[in-house]
Each structure stands twice: as C-alpha cells, then as structure tokens.
C-alpha cells in the first residue's frame, strides 16, 4: 500500500529475504512536556514535567521517562517486524542520556544478524533513539523470528 508521500508501507516488513545491513525506517517525535507529564507516564515524578522542580534538582529542564523512547523504538520495530514482535521477541534498551523537554527524537535501527531457525530466521537489529543533532539517548538491540 503506497501512501501519499510515495512510501510503500507494506515494503517495510522484514521477510526471510531481508539482508543484514537493512536499515529500519525512523520514527520522529517531539518530547512535549504536556505528554511527558501525563498520568500514566511521568506525572508521579515532577522531574518529568515541572520546570521549577527539575531545575531545583540540577536539570536544565524536565526530562522524559526513558520508557517513552523505548515505546518509540517499539513502534518502529512493530512497523518492520509486524506480528513477530509479539511472540518470542526480545528488546533490550539502555538509557545512556536524558531526553530534555522540547527535543525532537528520531529512532533508528539496522539489521546486524540473521540466524537460520525453523523455516525462517531469527533476526537481530541494533536500535537507538537520538536527538536531531545525532546525540544518542537510548541504545540497544531487538530480536524477532521471521518465517519460522
């Protein structure tokens, strides 16, 4: 299915034929303070949404919960792995730097391994989330079975 900007969304899916080196298409989000402080995300900790409190603890501005970047990365992985992300998949994320309010975060990933398994392969990809200057905030890897 081609979208209006010409990107074929069906072509995103990783298949047994997908090669090592294939790059995942990014997801881009703005770290908006009003979303960072919503009840099921950062409301319990004012470092995630209150500029005054955040500055009192030495931060320049509120920081996003790391799990929001994991959710962005997970969205990218579902776009590419589809149903395979929901059964026998594994995702590892390390939060190496804080995402500051108002930063724009872009996810990325690249297939690094494909190991034969059953009738298909277990794929492994390096994954990350970075700001627009390319400073990485979250790094890790994901594994999923395709065509197994």
């Amino acid at each position: 299915m081609a979208s209006q900007n010409g990107l074929n969304l069906d072509s995103l899916r990783i298949t047994p034929e997908t090669p090592v080196g294939y790059e995942l298409q990014p997801i881009k989000k703005k770290a908006a303070i009003q979303l960072m402080g919503s009840r099921v995300w950062g409301r319990f900790n004012p470092n995630h949404w209150d500029p005054d409190y955040a500055r009192s603890t030495g931060l320049t501005d509120p920081i996003q919960t790391g799990e929001m970047s994991s959710a962005y990365i997970s969205e990218m992985c579902v776009n590419h792995f589809g149903a395979a992300m929901f059964k026998n998949a594994r995702i590892v994320c390390k939060y190496i730097a804080s995402t500051i309010a108002n930063e724009v975060i872009v996810t990325g990933g690249v297939i690094t391994e494909k190991t034969p398994k059953g009738n298909g392969f277990r794929f492994r990809a390096d994954i990350w989330a970075a700001n627009e200057a390319g400073e990485k905030k979250t790094v890790g890897w994901v594994e999923a079975d395709v065509g197994v």
Partner: protein, 172 residues
Amino acid sequence: MNNELKPQSAVQEAQTRAFVGALQQGSQTYWDMVEIGDELSRDLHITPELVILYLDPVEDYNPWYEGWRMNSWHIDGESPFGGAIVPPLLVSHFVLSVQFDHTKPFAIGSIHTFHDSEILEPIPVGATVRITTRAIDKYEKRGRRYVRHEVHVTDTATGMLYFREVRDILSL
C-alpha cells in the same frame, strides 16, 4: 514561575506546588526501600481505555491496539492474532507501579536505566495480568547505586507467561 515550556496561571501554579509538595513527603531513596529478595506482585486489568491512555502520549496510533474508538467506544478490534492486542512494552511500563511498593511514598529522584524484555506471547486487550517483581541485586558502579529486578507477567486466568524482564533502577 511562568515558563515557556509550561504556561500556567497563578491558580495552576499553586496547585502544582501543592501536588509536588505532597509527592516529596516521607519519601525514601529507592536503595533504602529495597532489600535483595524482596518480592512484590499486583494484578493489572488491561482495559481498552488503559491501552489508549498509554498510547496517546507516545503518539502511537497502530489500529491493532484499539479496543476502544471514539464514537464506537468498546470494540473487539483487529490484529494478526484476532482481536485487539496490547503494545509490546505496555506491561513493562507498569512494572514501575509494582516494584516501587505502592503502599509507601514514591522514591522520587530514581531513574530507570535499563531493561531486557522478552515478549513471549501476545496479550489480548481486556486481559488481567499478574506482574511479579523480585529484587535480585543491588550494586554500585562508578559511584552510582543501582537496584536490579527480575519480572514475570502472567495471565491471572490461564497462568500463561506473557512477558519476562530484567531491569535496573538508578537510586539517589
């Protein structure tokens, strides 16, 4: 203080300060709250509305997760597994509400630094899951203090193991 990031009236500012003040009362560091071997468990009913509350702030609009839609309200939804399913890391997000003993003041200032998550089976929207956390390590690295937990998420009705995780919290 008015702020470009979060414009507020005087009333909102006073409400904010009262809320933050209440969060800080009686709070301990997470390091002091937890002993290795501590196990906590709670049941979470993953309603269609809870899934939406989780998804909207991260702006994920994948239709596979929708068991609730404006105008229609409750719907069965559609996914490759039949009805609507729960996003891969939703239960990971709610682990925080289990590993931090909810009967005590929240240890503000703690930071989640790492997770190694195994998504074993799809979770249908509407399921009730049991999230069990066990503190397996407390360690110091480069002058910082970390608490490590292992997590299991099962279906309360069938016992199916949906999700397993190891995660670290950096404590003040």
